[in-house]
Point group: C2
């Protein structure tokens, strides 16, 4: 069987960890697998290199920053290959470029265009364990070294698994898998043994940090089964894969999990003239500043003054940019005031089961009301309900949702969509 394994920076923080990871890889090889490993930079290497760059230049060019940062994975990949060789197995390390990871030329945030894994195939045919430096590739047009954006080693691994037609991709980290909610907030949160791509996409997009959105998107598009598991134990983790409950004879859960996100902020624009095209103008300003918007709410216009308020949420990291762009356009658009609030958070109930089951929204809102949580904004998709709440209410809201949908391990039994409960 051909498998791709990915180990994160915390799994290879020092020489001892590297040796431990090497033993785990060798164990998989000894089971008869062809093993390709994608590796992140050791521990804080990327941060250390970024600091070094800052000392030399306050605003380094992205091409050179990529040249610098890719040294991190090159180092960990070479060291891991040495450690495996030391156990008596053949291993060869490859940079992203050598591994054939072809990307766009967008330094610091390049996208994988294609993978031409000729050298990897050759090494596998030779019986070698292959180590690939994650997070990096080479621009198809400029031939310059690129990085895929932080945390993108997961995406490298899934993309390689697809290109190599691997049976599955294992993502090792310091957590045991995907849980029904963050176990630090909900003690009764349960590991999800299997989760479909759609649910995982909604979980990742709404704050579950276990897998990066692009990685899940890639896995869904290429139909790569992903096993998210701990590098510190042998316990099974969570399989992210195509789920067909009817075919498998399983009951489909109504709700898969509760995600939350503390990284959002809310901007409210007060006193917007209630004319056609005003909202479009405001969001054009924001889009031109390269700021992504999550939820939008437009209040009902007050009869007497022909003005309305518009609220939207965005990443806190984009807050200053958005405020500056809006204030620059204030006199032209003619609104009264911009109010910024980063003391908010988003709580989302996710589950493909809700498609065929009405009443989920009502049940969630009732649970929030009973827990005395005030809802600031609401947004829904076919398989998700999200609310913005005060930052101090996030934990309460997560727990209330988790209990209301029967996800607690030692609470009421798990509710399945098919049971109609």
């Amino acid at each position: 069987m051909r498998v791709v394994q990915k180990f994160g920076g915390s799994s290879v923080a020092d020489a001892e960890s590297i040796k431990r990871v090497a033993r785990r890889i060798v164990a998989s090889k000894e089971q008869g697998n062809d093993v390709v490993v994608v590796i992140s930079a050791m521990g804080d290497t990327t941060d250390d290199l970024t600091d070094l760059a800052q000392k030399v230049s306050p605003n380094p060019r992205p091409r050179e920053l990529d040249m610098l940062l890719t040294a991190g994975e090159r180092i960990s990949a070479a060291l891991l290959a040495m450690a495996i060789n030391d156990l008596g197995f053949d291993a060869r390390s490859f940079t992203g470029s050598q591994a054939g990871v072809l990307t766009t030329a967008s330094h610091g945030d390049a996208r994988i265009i294609d993978i031409t894994p000729g050298r990897i195939e050759q090494a596998l045919n030779d019986g070698d364990i292959v180590i690939v430096a994650g997070f990096q590739g080479v621009s198809q047009t400029t031939k310059d070294v690129t990085t895929l954006g932080r945390g993108a080693s997961d995406t490298t691994a899934v993309a390689l698994a697809a290109a190599l037609d691997a049976s599955f991709c294992e993502i090792y980290s310091d957590v045991d898998g995907v849980f029904t909610a963050d176990p630090r907030i909900v003690p009764g949160a349960q590991r999800i043994p299997e989760i479909g791509y759609e649910d995982m996409l909604e979980m990742a997009a709404n704050g579950a940090k276990i897998l990066h959105l692009r990685c899940v998107e890639y896995a869904r598009r290429e139909n790569v089964p992903v096993h998210v598991r701990s590098s510190f134990s042998d316990k099974p983790g969570t399989w992210v894969k195509q789920l067909d409950y009817q075919e498998a004879g399983m009951e489909q859960p109504l709700i898969t999990g509760i995600a939350h996100d503390r990284s959002e902020a809310k901007i409210t624009i007060i006193g917007v003239p209630d004319r056609v095209g005003e909202a479009a103008e405001i969001f054009t300003v924001v889009a031109d500043a390269d700021v992504n918007i999550d939820m939008i709410v437009q209040n009902v216009s007050k009869e007497d003054d022909q003005r309305t308020d518009i609220s939207f949420t965005l990443a806190q990291s984009d807050g200053a940019t958005a405020i500056a762009a809006l204030e620059a356009a204030q006199s032209r658009i003619g609104f009264a005031q911009v109010v910024y609030n980063d003391k908010v958070g988003k709580v989302s109930v996710v589950g493909v089961g809700m498609r065929s089951h009405p009443g989920v929204t009502a049940r969630f809102f009732r649970a929030l009301a009973e827990a005395d949580v005030n809802i600031g904004m609401i947004s829904t998709s076919e398989i998700r309900i999200s609310v913005v709440v005060d930052i101090d209410d996030i934990d309460t809201a997560v727990r209330a949702g988790h209990t209301a949908f029967g996800l607690d391990a030692e609470g009421e039994a798990i509710v399945y969509a098919g049971t109609g409960r």
Copy 2:
């Protein structure tokens, strides 16, 4: 004018040094030059990476070690490019592989086969300052990353200067140039303003550490003028180049300088049967162990026992290997004993002027005798006389030679071959 500049690790030890080097490079660019810079790894980076490798594997594979170590120059090259960009100039960094440095596949000690500097030419045509990671290349056959052996960034620089048809190559380090002797031993040692390739080859081969032998060989073969100078001052250094004294109307010095080498050891094989082919057999054993030999002396055979002694010198680092190989062959060859002595050193008088001037050997030996230095072994070339002396006599021998040939700055006047003095 197109120039290649090389800066060593001590010139880029930290962020401040990198900025200082950036300013110097920009100054050359502002003079209207096309500038290509070859850079070593920062300070102790290579040693630190080697230590890290040792922690993971006591005997790392050379391919992986090269993958690891080349990260060092990648980091310094990217940082230097950033620092130059920060000064408002365009700079682009390239790995050895990107710069087209094609080498043999001999990891850790690869030789440059060819340079295909297409991307560098393109960057120069765009008006960019080009930064190349030194010490590294890519195997022409395996496409794996290689290193050229420690200190080989000098060779990269000279090879690039030749491939790019540069006017000259500047080698920046923490010394002011090539001196008539090591100034730490001889306070009156003088900087040599110009030195021919042949003299520089002999100086480098016999212990002067300022330039690596392969770098000088490459410069001579390609006729690249090399300017060895300090990165900490603007003073002129030493030009290593084709010298024709008669054409230039200069008097040729009798002696160019005194080199010394503390890294040698002496092996004496006692009681070798005095038969035809015995010496050949001994040196075949040593050669098969991959040990290079410097000087050889065979004592006159003693009439009574038909046995002789053979001494030779070699690098101390090869001592254990040579001894083991010889002892393994002892019974077959039938000698009595192997004696190892690393408490020796070599002192060499170098100068193409001695070709046309007899009496140099006599003058050197007289000076050593007057200084009470005992000569252990002697070897000569057309332009060099070397003696092996006791390690405690090295400094005395260097000073005696320096004075005897009139090289002292505040001693007698410099002796020129043409004057017959």
